[in-house]
Symmetry: C2
Subunit: 151 residues, 2 copies
DNA sequence: GCCCTTTCGATGCATCTGCATGGAAAAGCC
DNA sequence: GGCTTTTCCATGCAGATGCATCGAAAGGGC
């Protein structure tokens, strides 16, 4: 396998660093006003958009580990933002349902989160560059397909 | 503050996801062959390039939290990859020095790490796009300057 | 010199994460 | 039906992280 070109390494370093800085900025903004971290937002949004759903589906949608979601949901249930209700179709699982408080929390988080994203990303590049960035990152943001078998 | 444009959100989502996937890929590749995680590599490389240095300087160079580095170094010292020696100029601190094993470890990690980067990034976009990506990410990969005071 | 403030680095504690595993229900097979 | 395999989700345990704080040394003013 070829070693990475210099430009690949530069892009790599910047990618990791940019994402990390931006993430920290957002997490910090939410924390600073006493709101839960971004991953809670993702769950709340997914449940609001997709309706009540099973952990397995939510996990796939969010792209996180099974045990990560399991415990994340634990905390959110404890915080009354999400409820677990029995799943009629499969007694192993259950449905995750947004509570009223969860709905309100999503709404409360959005302005803060949005402003943080705008500060970290939107305000630092023009529309053309944002579009170019989104386009370039598209292939990297997908799950890698399985390696095609070589003959 | 303006809410983010749709393109900002798309770029944001892809940025976070792309960095996360790529990171996982690299960490997994190293772990799969029994090597330490990428952040160890960063420390080893910084010490190799910059020579023995103090935690404070290393921390700034790596852009991580003070306590994160403190404990990371703890583990690496325990693994004999790094040694702490008294600092002649400042008795509060000490110098972090790469050991022979640390040097060897950096060399051992590089092929694996490099191949992972190549797979995750280099092989998925052409040279032109890599350059464009690096350019677009440049402003995001810098520490945000302090907000200029408004009049 | 002395005192006060700042910087350096480590650490107690609570929380979070990753890995491996567990138990229970469902699906497939005969 | 009965049996094995697979899927679903939780959890014990060890390790990592974040936050606040601490002790020690350095720096600054006098």
């Amino acid at each position: 396998m070829a070693m990475p070109a210099a430009m690949t390494l530069l892009a790599w370093n910047r990618l990791v660093r940019a994402a990390d800085l931006a993430n920290q900025h957002c997490a910090g903004a939410l924390r600073a006003v006493g709101l839960p971290p971004p991953e809670w937002y993702d769950v709340l949004l997914a449940l609001e958009r997709g309706g009540a759903q099973r952990p397995r589906d939510l996990q796939a949608a969010l792209g996180i580990e099974q045990y990560t979601l399991s415990r994340l949901v634990d905390r959110m249930v404890k915080a009354r933002l999400v409820s677990r209700t029995p799943c009629p179709a499969d007694a192993r699982g259950h449905l995750l349902q947004l509570t009223i408080e969860g709905l309100a929390m999503r709404a409360a988080m959005w302005p803060i989160y949005a402003e943080a994203i705008e500060t970290a990303l939107g305000a630092r590049m023009d529309e053309e560059d944002r579009a170019a960035l989104a386009r370039l990152l598209a292939p990297l943001a997908e799950q890698p397909r399985a390696e095609p078998l070589s003959a």
